[in-house]
């Protein structure tokens, strides 16, 4: 307890508090700019903080890392442009809320989710990091394969109502995920000698196309402003109140986000999507999802914000980075002489606990920034389309270019923009496509790896207890829509 008290006192020293607030705001700005994610943000800020006290520098970097996600959701909600791949799911309901004039409400939900999801994640990180890290290590290729399969089975729920079109979209996503260098066999697939896609189809560039470019095309042909009603409806506090009306959705989303975060080999981008899809599946009115359902924003945002502390679990407890952002943060920690691992809690306990306290505090500061500054951002949804459309197009394509300094990426975004437009007009939802693109490689490479380890024996897929549980859950997920009515009949019969 002594360590924690010391950490709290330390964080509240003026220079640390200043670093924390600066990191929060810098993080939000980095997040708002498309193409600049937490990784680039931290790399660019590193020279500035090199001479600082290690704990102060880590507080700055930590709050920057934590808050860039919120910046990304601001643009995702308001202008349909994800700041980073992890914000993709927020678009699905956040932007339609804006169209109804509820941009301010959606931003409030997102800020509240950052506070609540982040705090839940941090509490788990602080109290059970070593235990959770041990759990994550039990996931080998076979378990990762089964996890991805379970996640893919959620597509079945997402496509309900338009099954054929949904499956076409999912199939397209899975096919696109095979493009590029096959990490296991070393072969290049479907690149046609074009090197920009040798790493696979770049995700953020594709997202910029599917959402920002597509939406610009739609806006250019229709409404007068993003908000169809021409004014803002509902205030910030309405958003905060709405958020707490869904306690079950919050807990479910935080659990999914934390789980995805803890597993080092699962990308952050899937956390929001999976929480969103799961919320839709369990909802009594799934048709409202994707049409401005607040629960959709609540789920995806809570999940991504709980995912970030989850990423830090293995990073801090074992030195295995949980994501690209976490890898950079790990590098920063090492530069400041904090070598992650089980010993770090003893050797550098003061620094680590200060960082933890700061990360909890930054969630609340983020919320304060949200209520004071971000709500005014919602006004952009009232701008006339002839002004906002060129701005969205230029800024999002610039972001697409900036990630790799590559003109070809702008081309990729434009192609996906046209694809998105065709899909939209044809009544296809992009969610299964995204899930396919995000999960396809995970399914394939881990299947391959598992068989390489077992020497071709399929028993590796069901030998461990975790595998058996995952197989059971996948079966339940697939059979759920059919078992549900039967179950209802049985229970009603008993009455």
């Amino acid at each position: 307890m002594d360590v924690v008290t010391q950490a709290v006192t330390f964080v509240f020293q003026w220079q640390n508090l200043a670093a924390l607030i600066a990191g929060t705001i810098y993080g939000i700005i980095i997040g708002v700019l498309p193409g600049l994610g937490p990784s680039a943000g931290m790399a660019l800020a590193l020279p500035l903080v090199l001479k600082w006290h290690p704990a102060t520098a880590l507080i700055f970097m930590g709050s920057l890392y934590k808050c860039s996600n919120y910046g990304g959701s601001i643009t995702a909600i308001l202008v349909n442009t994800p700041g980073d791949a992890s914000n993709a799911a927020t678009i699905l309901d956040g932007y339609p809320m804006c169209e109804k004039g509820k941009g301010g409400v959606a931003l409030a939900i997102s800020a509240t989710a950052a506070m609540v999801g982040g705090t839940i994640g941090m509490i788990c990180l602080i109290f059970s990091a070593p235990f959770l890290a041990e759990f994550a290590l039990r996931f080998g290729p076979a378990e990762y394969f089964l996890t991805a399969l379970l996640a893919l089975s959620i597509i079945a729920a997402v496509v309900q109502g338009a099954t054929i079109k949904g499956l076409i979209s999912a199939g397209l996503g899975l096919m696109l995920s095979t493009v590029g260098f096959d990490v296991v066999t070393g072969h290049l697939r479907y690149t046609f000698g074009w090197s920009p896609i040798e790493d696979g189809i770049p995700l953020i560039q594709a997202l910029v196309g599917l959402f920002a470019v597509t939406q610009s095309l739609v806006l250019a042909e229709s409404a007068e402003s993003i908000s169809r009603i021409g004014k803002l409806a509902g205030g910030f506090w309405e958003g905060v109140m709405t958020y707490f009306k869904y306690p079950y959705a919050i807990i479910r989303a935080a659990t999914i986000g934390l789980f995805i975060g803890i597993l080092p080999a699962v990308g952050q981008s899937s956390a929001g999507l999976l929480a969103w899809a799961e919320a839709k599946r369990e909802s009594k009115h799934p048709e409202t999802f994707g049409n401005g359902e607040p629960e959709g924003v609540i789920s995806s945002e809570t999940s991504t914000n709980a995912c970030m502390p989850g990423d830090l679990v293995c990073t801090i407890a074992l030195g295995i980075p949980g994501s690209v952002g976490a890898a950079i943060f790990l590098g920063v920690m090492i530069i400041f002489g904090v070598i992650p691992g089980p010993l770090v809690f003893k050797e550098k306990g003061d620094v680590i606990y200060s960082l933890f306290v700061a990360l909890v505090l930054t969630s609340f500061i983020l919320f304060l920034v949200g209520i004071t500054v971000a709500r005014h951002f919602a006004l952009v949804t009232l701008l006339p389309n002839e002004i906002i459309v060129p701005v969205i197009l230029v800024v999002s394509l610039l972001g697409s270019f900036a990630i790799r300094n590559l003109m070809a990426d702008v081309f990729i975004s434009l192609v996906f923009g046209i694809l998105g437009y065709i899909m939209l007009k044809g009544g296809f939802t992009p969610v299964p496509l995204l899930l396919g693109m995000v999960l396809g490689e995970m399914v394939e490479t881990n299947y391959h790896r598992a068989l390489m380890i077992s020497g071709g024996s399929y028993s590796i897929f069901y030998s461990s207890i975790i595998s058996k549980i995952l197989i059971f859950l996948t079966f339940l997920s697939l059979a759920g829509p059919y078992l549900g009515p039967v179950w209802k009949k049985l229970t009603q019969g008993e009455k």
């Binding site: 607030i21 600066a22 705001i25 810098y26 990784s39 680039a40 931290m42 790399a43 660019l44 590193l46 020279p47 500035l48 090199l50 994550a136 290590l137 039990r138 996931f139 080998g140 290729p141 990490v183 296991v184 066999t185 070393g186 072969h187 000698g193 090197s195 920009p196 040798e198 790493d199 080092p264 080999a265 074992l318 030195g319 295995i320 980075p321 690209v324 890898a327 950079i328 590098g331 090492i334 530069i335 002489g337 070598i339 992650p340 691992g341 089980p342 010993l343 304060l368 920034v369 004071t372 500054v373 990630i403 790799r404 300094n405 590559l406 490479t445 790896r449 390489m452 380890i453 020497g455």
Partner: protein, 320 residues
Amino acid sequence: MFKNLSKSLAFLSVVGVSLLLACPSANSVDFPKKPIKLIACAAAGGGEDTEARGIAPYVEKYLGVNVMIENQPGAGGKIAFEKFQRTKPDGYNLITYTFPKSIIIEYMGKTNYKTRDFTPIFAWSRSNQLLVVHADTWKTFDEFLKAAKAKTLAGGLSGRGSTTHLAGLVAVDELGIKVNWVPYEGAAGSTAALAGKHLDFTICLATSALSLIQAGKLRPLLMFSDKRDPYFPDVPIPKDLGFDVTPIPAIRGVEAPPNTPPSIVKVLEEAFSKAVKEPAFIDWADKRKMVLHPLSAKEFSKIVVDTYPKVEQFKEMFKE
């Protein structure tokens, strides 16, 4: 909060402007006269990028102009290499990456560049590949070797066609064992899988396994180097155990486009070689556990030439 925001922005801009002003003005020699672009074949924050950003301020000090880092990740650097092959050799465009990655890429598919055409300037660091096993398994390399000869073990790699893969292939060839290679994307995946006992061993850059070794999860058995690594002084090298394994280290350095005039190379080489002797840079490198190993343009060129036949020998094995 508005007040805080504007204050922070003001602070950031003041810092930005002072950084710009702090850069020394151009010196009297005709090269360099304008800022130099250093292309890092990695995303911001990646290993190559971090080292480039670490050394740049000290190079600036000796060149008297700004050194700007431009990130060109993608296809392991192939996109950047192909562009670089056609870049004007005026010394204002330089590239940094982990050698011999570029040569491996040449043997994995068609490329529109040749590493041997590039003009080596200087190399500052090397990373050694390390063979690690789970701490509950073999205690010494001899025990490991005996087990590896008895049955085919599963070995983790940080990537097919990575410098680690090459090191692994060379080692396996000279030790006379067979291995089921399981490629991952980066050392995080392969070390985590080993710590969870899903693999028998892993080869990775020494720094990638540091935390897990300190945590007592993994045990280092062999360092592929011709001399002991200062950060792992207790880990034997092949020579100590009586094996003749030619190590292929991963080298970080800087190169200029093909046909860069020697006069320009000399200016750049001098600046980089002075930069790595700066105490502040040495201190920074030590914190990152970087093994500083300066190579002159001449030494670097020789390594480029020597590495080609080694990679060619294993070219069939990069693909399955």
